[in-house]
């Protein structure tokens, strides 16, 4: 088990995590939980950019995706409503 395979294992795990959290983001009925799943998705995406040796993209993703977008979405939920309605 050399260093390269550790890298590959990490990337596979991260991609699985990104897929599951992206699916949960669109499937949660509670929008606050969806905001949290989206925060964890952009967090893992930032680490994926990091592992692909793109530090500038990773900084932008960490700054915008994990902190600011979550805060803005939560403000939006506070101004409107928390539970998603069933489609008519």
């Amino acid at each position: 088990m050399n260093v390269l395979s550790v890298d590959v294992i990490l990337q596979f795990g991260l991609l699985i995590g990104i897929l599951i959290s992206a699916y949960l983001t669109i499937s949660f009925r509670d929008l606050l939980s969806a905001a949290l799943a989206s925060a964890s998705m952009s967090l893992l995406l930032s680490l994926e950019f990091y592992l692909l040796h793109a530090p500038d993209v990773a900084i932008a993703e960490a700054a915008v995706g994990a902190g600011v977008v979550t805060a803005i979405v939560v403000y939006g939920i506070a101004k409107t409503e928390r539970w998603e309605r069933e489609a008519p």
Partner: protein
């Protein structure tokens, strides 16, 4: 030799991050999920520092600084919403 051990410990830290991610997915209430995201933030900062030492680049550690300072905003916004301070 030393650099490889940083890779392996980053791998172990990421396994811990996977457990925290499971708590985000299955947490019955919203505060449980917030605790999961908070733990995930700390573990990913630790992993970024270890991987920065492993790849031998300083700029990778700067991402960890930005991340540690900004991931806090999301946690605080959700905590503020849960205690009814945003309406």
């Amino acid at each position: 030799m030393i650099v490889e051990i940083f890779f392996y410990s980053a791998l172990v830290v990421m396994i811990g991050a996977f457990f925290a991610l499971l708590r985000v997915f299955f947490g019955p209430s919203v505060p449980d999920r917030v605790v999961g995201v908070d733990t995930l933030n700390t573990l990913i900062v630790a992993g970024m520092i270890l991987l920065g030492a492993a790849y031998d680049r300083t700029i990778y550690i700067d991402i960890a600084i930005v991340y540690a300072l900004l991931s806090y905003i999301g946690t605080l916004a959700i905590a503020r919403y849960l205690q009814g301070g945003l309406e």
